[in-house]
Every structure is written in structure tokens, then in C-alpha cells.
């Protein structure tokens, strides 16, 4: 079975009950995708499937074989995208555990156009953060939006 992750092909036959989050982490060594809650509430496992944010902990791995998957490792290989830069510079991450999911959610949001502050809040409301109180995350996404649509 073929998986296309961050533009690379991986061949592996996961068991039917393997979740995407486990396939990425344990199968492909892509540990940037985090496991935070196990009930779909925290969003730390968010990845993009065909460009849309999905919870990798609520997705059976086999269901996304053949689809274009982007994890945090594939957002901007080798350098920081301006969204990532903005998150770091604005203090939008502290412990960093929510950052991968948060960034992927924001990538999809910014691709849809320039969001308002409320749209940002709403878009990241399924990504929990316990450190920042969200203020600087929102600010970081706002700043990144100023810089253009391709985060």
C-alpha cells in the first residue's frame, strides 16, 4: 500500500485498525504529529489530507492511502515558512506540543484567504494549547496573514 506524505512515497501495509497518527509516528518516524488526548478533542495530531486539516487520531491509516498528506515536517522543509517564523517570533508557542497541529490548521486557514481575528479564533478552536492562552498564537497567524496567502 502506498502513502504519499510530504511529497514522498512510503510503502507499507498497515493493519486495518492502525490509526494514521500511529502510522506516521511509528511507521514513518514522522514524530512531529503528536498524540495528546485520544478522544479527538485536542487537535495535536492535526495533519492535512488533500489540503484540509484532519485529526490523525480519528483517521484509519488505510483510508488515506493514495491521498496527499502533509505533516508538520512537510510544511516547509529546510527552512521556516513565514507562518512558522511568525509563530516563533510572536511567542505563539511555548512548550511546542500543540505547535504542529496549530500550524497545519493555520496553513489551511490562510490558504482560504485573509482571515479576521474571529475567524482565526474559530479556526484554531479545535487545537488546544495549555501554555500561551492563545493570544500570541492568534497574533502570529494574523501577522503571517499580512505577509501573504501561501504560508
Amino acid at each position: 500500500m502506498r502513502f504519499r506524505v510530504n511529497g514522498l512515497d512510503y510503502d507499507l501495509n498497515p493493519e486495518a485498525d492502525r490509526l494514521l497518527v500511529d502510522l506516521l509516528r511509528e511507521g514513518f518516524g514522522l514524530t512531529g504529529t503528536k498524540r495528546g488526548c485520544e478522544d479527538g478533542s485536542c487537535g495535536a495530531c492535526t495533519v492535512l489530507v488533500e489540503g484540509e486539516p484532519r485529526h490523525a487520531c480519528l483517521t484509519l491509516a488505510r483510508r488515506v492511502s493514495g491521498k496527499e498528506i502533509t505533516t508538520i515536517e512537510g510544511v516547509s522543509p529546510g527552512r521556516l515558512s513565514h507562518l512558522q517564523r511568525s509563530l516563533v517570533d510572536s511567542g505563539g508557542l511555548q512548550c511546542g506540543f500543540c505547535a504542529p497541529g496549530m500550524i497545519l490548521t493555520a496553513v489551511a486557514l490562510l490558504r482560504r484567504g485573509k482571515p479576521t481575528r474571529d475567524e482565526i479564533r474559530e479556526a484554531i478552536s479545535g487545537n488546544f494549547c495549555r501554555c500561551t492562552g492563545y493570544a500570541k498564537i492568534i497574533e502570529a497567524i494574523e501577522r503571517a496573514a499580512e505577509e501573504g496567502p501561501t504560508p
Binding site: 488526548c37 516547509s76 521556516l80 509563530l87 511555548q94 512548550c95 478552536s125 495549555r130
Partner: protein
């Protein structure tokens, strides 16, 4: 003027975190690694009659199983209360305690096998009610508690003449507060990887706030010389106190590695994290304050009953803090406290951000609001009358140094437009104030004799000109590596990128008490500064040798050592380094911090003493939905005194994050129990606030430099939390005239109170101080 210190320097590990490259304990893999799982007790108080491992052992993939009786040595974060074992021995004390542990070739195999462990129990009476636990009980949870009760710790203190002050008082106000437990809910679940090397040396990678406590506890539990153990802290995904204790699963992973000869990793499930808890204690308190006719505080009389759960953890400290931290930020001539912490058969409570101070602070600040109303003064004015003076001593002999409480409150009051809002907005809208203070690290290290410093930092400088900084302080997301980088860079006149912090590998890091009690910036910062200054001395000497100027005339700025002597000269940093290295090799320096001798000499006098305190004054504006009871916090103005901030970006992050956590506790978070059973052990059910629930926050950093803090800095990690709860509660009172002294203020409970008030004569704004 400083260049790097005081600047908004982004986290040094930010790029690694933003790209998914930062490795957390659950991300680590070692060759041959097995996965561990823990079979947990479904009983909350029971004697173990037998454990049957047969079925578990037969599961495919199982490599080893252990039970508690193999490793019965006790540990605990405080040396005086070691009452935990890695797995239950003889009896279980809470539902979720480990019984046996399995190592297997996959996570799933280990979990399957753990489920097959069969245990026979004899049930014992369960204790869920702290009142009951405070009295004689049929079956004390731990042996050795006084008078056959579940009392773990009792503190009684009295200073000044409390009785007399209450007799003479013009005003007496009392509050009875009830606070459920809350928990850290750091986003990263705890994880550990342990590997017993062929030479008999143990390495443990763990998501911990205090590598050196874990180090110490492992040595005790496995009866090894400490130098045979190495603890490494990878990137940690938040702690807030929840990763401060040495934890049972960390011992279990090590034991399983020893039994199987393989590295073993244990990653806790979110439910297990909730059962491990160590969060803020459920507490009931009764607080009375006495004041003279002008509203000057004369006495505090406080009683707290604290539900500790199944083990001690930091509980002895908690018991003290619940009392002694009530005296600041105000000047109070008399103070009496009785605090009791009892065991119950619930998951253990421990230290959580603003440890021991939140619940007391809530009652105190609500009481002050009531006092202001009784006297007819504005509550901000009442506080201004009572703030303790800078450079003073409290009744319980805390040494107070820098203190900008007044500026905090004035800033928040001005920015918020307090005067035009307080008691002046329509029904349903309100504004309120709450203040606080917090320690910048405990003055007495709990583990070491006072002859050892609390923090030590080593610097290494080699031919490449890069500075490696070794420290045992642990960055758990708060940015201590960044702060240390800034301090060293500042002293040596370098860009932050030339300084590399190599923290928290106990093989290379000097002993440090880790990240808790808001000690890191102050203590590690001072140690780091001294280490860098010692290095600078060496480089000045070298620069003097190169240039013929006197060493003392050199300053380090912008990558050079500059002297104004003899028409001025600039020696490039690297030249000075190379000169100094001649015939000597790499340069090293060391700095350490030891807090001054302060505090009284009575029993418990050290609790709450600190070389410096942060101060805070918050104002919050709310609207209350009169139909549905929901409280909407519109905005918080956070006046904060952390001395001179080393990194305002990070300080603001601490304030905003603290407000998130404080509002969570106020508005909805709660460890819900039915008896001893946790009802909401998942992030969906526990209810930390989401992005759409958060108000706007304006941070007002108005502190003045502290004389002893590194570059004038004090703590900012915990002090920002407590004031927000009472500020909002007092704002709710301003909005609807109802005092809430039981948390959380969830919409259903607020709604009930609103309805009851309507029935009893109507909902209205409280009277304004000048008479309405």
C-alpha cells in the same frame, strides 16, 4: 543599558518546535526498545490478596512483568514524606494505582497483557470526604498517621495578637471558600524511556521538570550510587507542576528495563495522566479579616482543610503555603493559621502553578472586596491603603525587597478606565480587582543541606568561540534556556546565536533543583550571570595581554572586548578566547547561586520565604448573561511586577497563559468525582478553555529592577495566575451583586444563583461606595 537582556528574544528552541523536529520523550526510540504498560487497580482502597500474572504472561510479545513486591522501596518528592512505591505493595490507595507492569514488543501487546492481570482484593472503607478523613477512621490510608486519622500534615501558626485585633476591629469580614481540585492538563502526556546499560548504568529520558529529583529518587529506589544513573530531559511539552515529582511510571520503566535487558518506553494515556494528577488540591477554607475604621488590615485568621488524595507529594509545602502566602501583598500585623492536609482515596494532589496560593488568594481578595463595600471605599483604594512597603518585613518575618504593587494597581486602574466603570455599568456588566504576590523560588532547598547552592551553571568556551552553557534548570516550555542564553550573551557581549545551552543531562549538568516554585529565572539566572562574569574576567585578562591595556578597562559588547584606555582599542572576542586558551585549552567557568539567610527561626519559618517576590494587580471586566448565567470575560488588564523583565515576550506569554489556566479553574475546570471515582478523565470532559473562550489580555509590566535578581528580574511563571480568579469574581459581583465563594462559576451554577436572587427580592447592582 543592556542589549540582549530586556529584548523580546524568541525561544531558542522555537524553530525546532515549529518544524516538528523537537523530540519529546514519546518521540524517542532506542534499538531493541520495548513498550511498557501498567495494570491499574479498579479499587480505590483495598488490600491485595493475590495477583495472577499467568494470563498476562501468555500474551504474545510479552518480555517481562513486575509487581510492586519486587520493588517495595519508597520514594516521594519531599524526603520527609516518602510514601509512594512504583507499584502498589500490599494495598491500593486510589483507583488507578499501578499493580503490575508489562514490557512487550508493541504498545498494543503490552496493553493487552496488562489487561489480563488478575487481582484479588479485600475491600477497605473508602475515604472521599476530607472532613471524614480529618477525624478518626476505621482504616487509615497510610500507617503512621496521628491518632488513627488520615491527617497527613497539620500546621498551626500565630503571629501578633490575633484575638486582640479582632476584639478591637472596626470591621470584620469572613469568607468560606470551597474549591474543587484542578489539574495541569499539560498537552504532552507523561512519557519515559529507560535503558539499563551493559555496564550496569541506568539512563532515563523523561518528561520531567526536575531531572535531579528523578535522579535522586531512582538512586533510592534501585539502591544505586547516584553516579550510576543518568537522567536526560528531552523537550518537555508543558509541566505546570505536574511533572515535578519523581513519578511511579518513571521507576517502572527502569525496573522493566532491568528485568528484560531492553530499553523500555512508557507513554501514559490521557486517562492515566488524569489519574496521576498531582494537581491543585481540593480545598475548603474559612478566612476572617479584621480591619480598623479606615480599612487598614489588622489581622487574618485562616483555616484550611486540604484534600491531599492518596499520597503526600509536595503536600507538606502546600499546607504551609495555603497559610503563609495569605499575608502578602498586604501589610498585616497579626496572622493565625491552621492548615490540615488529609489523605483520601483519590488521586494524589500536589503542586500546580501558583502552588498553594490560589484558593487562599481567592478568599482573601473576595474578603477585601467585601470589606471595601462595608466601609464604603473603592476596592482599589482599599488595596492601595494596605500594600506592604518595599524593603520591609512581614509579621511572619518574610523579607520583602522590591515591590511595585502600587504601580501595578495604578497602571491597571488607569488603563481599564476603572473610575468610570466601577458600579456604574448597567446590570449584568461589571469590573473587579484582584491582587497577589508570589515567591521567586523557595529560600530553602528541600533536598540539600543549606551548604550547597540552589543553582550552578558551567560555561565552556573553546576554539570555535561558541559558548556552551551547562545547566540543570529544565526548560519545560517556559523558556529558561532562552533566558539563560540571553544572560550569558549579554555579559559576554555576544549574539544569542553564539551561546548554546546544553541543559538537563545529569551527566553534564551541575545539580539544580529544576523548574518549580518559580525559581529558575532568579536562581539559575544569577548563577548564569556569575558564571559568565567569571568567564569575562579571563577574557579581559587576555585582552589586556594582547593590547597592553588594563584588564579592568574592558567591556564586552558586540562581539569585541572594548577598552577606552589609551585612545581606545577593540579586541575581537575570538582573539581574546584564543589568547586565553594558550597552554590551557578550552576555557571553563562556573557560577552558582545561594539565597541569603532570611526568615525567622520558628518551626516552619522557612516556608514561603524567598529572596524576592513578584507582585500583581489585575482588573477584569465581565458581562454576565442574565438568562443563561454564562460569564463572558471581556478583558483583563494585568499589572505585573516581575522586576525588570529579561524577556518581555516570554513574560507576557506567562501572564496570558496563567490567565488561561486561572480562568479555566474559575469558570469550569474541575476534577469531578463521584466518591473516589474521577468522572472526567479526558480532555473533552475536563474542559480547558479553547481559543474562542479567551478574553483579550493587556499586560502591563511596570516593575522596577530588583536589587538581587539577575539584571533586576524576578519571577513571572506563577504569580500571574492567582489574581485573575478573584478579579473576575469581584467583577461578577459588580455586575449582578452576587458573591460566589464556591468554584467553579459554571453557567449552570451562576444561573441558579441568579434565579434564587430574583426570587428573594430581585437582581440588582450592588451599592456604590459613595452611596448610590
Amino acid at each position: 543599558m543592556t542589549k540582549v537582556v530586556g529584548a523580546r528574544v524568541p525561544l531558542v528552541d522555537g524553530p525546532a518546535k515549529a518544524t516538528g523536529k523537537a523530540l519529546y520523550a514519546a518521540d524517542l526510540v532506542r534499538p531493541g526498545m520495548l513498550h511498557g504498560a501498567i495494570a491499574r487497580s479498579g479499587e480505590s482502597h483495598a488490600r491485595i490478596l493475590s495477583i495472577d500474572l499467568w494470563d498476562a504472561m501468555k500474551e504474545p510479545g510479552v518480555a517481562g512483568i513486575i509487581t510492586g513486591s519486587l520493588y517495595p522501596r519508597r520514594f516521594g518528592v519531599l524526603p520527609i514524606t516518602r510514601d509512594e512505591t512504583m507499584l502498589a505493595v500490599d494495598k491500593v490507595r486510589y483507583r488507578g494505582e499501578g499493580i503490575a507492569a508489562v514490557a512487550a514488543t508493541s504498545r498494543v501487546a503490552a496493553e493487552r497483557a496488562a489487561r489480563r492481570v488478575k487481582v484479588e482484593y479485600e475491600r477497605l472503607p473508602e475515604y472521599a470526604d476530607p472532613e471524614e478523613s480529618a477525624g478518626p477512621v476505621a482504616e487509615p490510608i497510610h500507617a503512621g498517621t496521628e491518632g488513627s486519622t488520615n491527617l497527613q500534615k497539620e500546621v498551626r501558626q500565630e503571629f501578633g495578637n490575633v484575638e486582640e485585633e479582632f476584639r478591637r476591629a472596626a470591621h470584620i469580614v469572613s469568607v468560606r471558600g470551597k474549591f474543587p481540585g484542578v489539574t495541569h492538563a499539560a498537552l504532552e502526556p507523561h512519557a519515559t524511556l529507560a535503558e539499563w546499560g551493559a555496564n550496569g548504568r541506568l539512563t532515563v529520558w523523561s518528561s520531567t521538570q526536575v531531572p535531579h529529583y528523578l535522579h535522586r529518587a531512582l538512586a533510592e529506589v534501585f539502591d544505586l550510587p547516584a553516579h550510576q544513573i543518568r537522567v536526560v530531559k528531552p523537550t518537555v511539552g508543558g509541566g505546570f507542576g505536574g511533572k515535578g515529582d519523581p513519578m511511579p511510571h518513571e521507576m517502572v520503566a527502569a525496573a522493566l528495563s532491568r528485568e528484560t535487558g531492553h530499553p523500555v518506553q512508557i507513554v501514559l494515556s490521557r486517562e492515566e495522566v488524569f489519574l496521576l494528577n498531582h494537581g491543585r488540591h481540593p480545598t475548603r477554607n474559612t478566612l476572617r479579616i479584621a480591619a480598623d475604621a479606615e480599612g487598614h488590615l489588622r489581622a487574618i485568621d485562616l483555616d484550611a482543610l486540604i484534600d491531599g488524595g492518596a499520597a503526600s507529594s509536595f503536600g507538606t509545602v502546600t499546607t504551609y503555603y495555603n497559610g503563609v502566602l495569605s499575608v502578602g501583598p498586604y501589610d498585616v500585623p497579626a496572622f493565625r493559621y491552621r492548615g490540615r492536609r488529609v489523605y483520601t482515596n483519590r488521586p494524589t494532589s500536589g503542586a500546580m502553578r501558583a502552588h498553594g496560593s490560589v484558593n487562599t488568594r481567592y478568599s482573601m481578595e473576595v474578603a477585601l472586596d467585601m470589606l471595601a463595600e462595608e466601609i464604603g471605599v473603592d476596592p482599589t483604594e482599599l488595596r492601595l491603603r494596605n500594600f506592604q512597603a518595599p524593603f520591609s518585613t512581614t509579621v511572619n518575618q518574610f523579607r520583602i525587597t522590591s515591590n511595585s504593587a502600587v504601580r501595578c494597581l495604578e497602571a491597571a486602574r488607569d488603563r481599564s478606565g476603572w473610575r468610570s466603570k466601577f458600579r456604574k455599568m448597567p446590570l449584568g456588566r461589571g469590573i473587579g480587582v484582584g491582587c497577589g504576590f508570589f515567591i521567586s523560588g523557595s529560600n530553602s532547598p528541600i533536598h540539600f543541606t543549606p551548604r550547597f547552592p540552589q543553582s550552578t551553571v558551567h560555561l565552556k568556551l573553546d576554539m570555535d568561540g561558541g559558548v556552551t552553557v551547562h545547566s540543570g534548570a529544565s526548560d519545560i516550555g517556559q523558556g529558561s534556556d532562552t533566558v539563560l542564553t540571553q544572560i550569558v550573551a549579554e555579559v559576554l557581549g555576544l549574539e544569542p546565536g553564539q551561546v548554546h545551552v546544553a541543559a538537563t543531562d545529569t551527566d553534564t549538568a551541575p545539580v539544580d533543583l529544576g523548574s518549580y516554585s518559580s525559581r529558575v529565572t532568579f536562581m539559575m539566572g544569577n548563577a548564569g550571570r556569575k558564571a559568565a562574569e567569571a568567564m569575562l574576567e579571563t577574557l579581559r585578562t587576555a585582552a589586556g595581554e594582547i593590547s597592553g591595556r588594563s584588564p579592568d578597562s574592558f567591556r564586552a559588547v558586540d562581539g569585541v572586548l572594548a577598552s577606552d584606555e589609551g585612545g581606545g582599542v577593540k579586541v575581537p572576542f575570538l582573539d581574546a578566547v584564543h589568547r586565553a586558551m594558550e597552554h590551557r585549552g578550552a576555557l571553563q567557568s562556573s557560577g552558582s547561586y545561594e539565597s541569603p539567610k532570611i526568615g525567622g527561626s520558628f518551626k516552619g519559618a522557612k516556608a514561603g520565604t524567598s529572596p524576592a517576590y513578584s507582585y500583581a494587580a489585575y482588573i477584569a471586566e465581565v458581562s454576565v448573561d442574565l438568562d443563561l448565567g454564562a460569564i463572558h470575560v471581556e478583558k483583563v488588564w494585568a499589572g505585573f511586577d516581575c522586576g525588570r523583565p529579561i524577556n518581555p515576550l516570554l513574560v507576557e506569554g506567562q501572564i496570558e497563559g496563567s490567565i488561561h489556566m486561572g480562568l479555566g479553574q474559575l469558570l469550569g475546570e474541575e476534577m469531578r468525582y463521584r466518591g473516589t471515582r474521577v468522572m472526567n478523565s479526558s480532555l473533552l470532559d475536563y474542559g480547558t478553555l479553547s481559543a474562542v473562550d479567551m478574553p483579550e489580555v493587556e499586560c502591563l509590566l511596570v516593575g522596577e529592577a530588583d536589587p538581587e535578581g539577575p539584571f533586576g528580574a524576578k519571577e513571572a511563571g506563577e504569580g500571574p495566575l492567582p489574581p485573575v480568579l478573584p478579579a473576575v469574581a469581584n467583577a461578577v459581583y459588580d455586575a449582578v451583586g452576587i458573591r460566589f465563594t464556591e468554584l467553579p462559576l459554571s453557567p449552570d451554577r451562576v444561573w441558579r444563583a441568579l434565579r434564587e436572587r430574583e426570587r428573594k427580592g430581585g437582581l440588582q447592582k450592588p451599592p456604590s461606595p459613595g452611596g448610590s
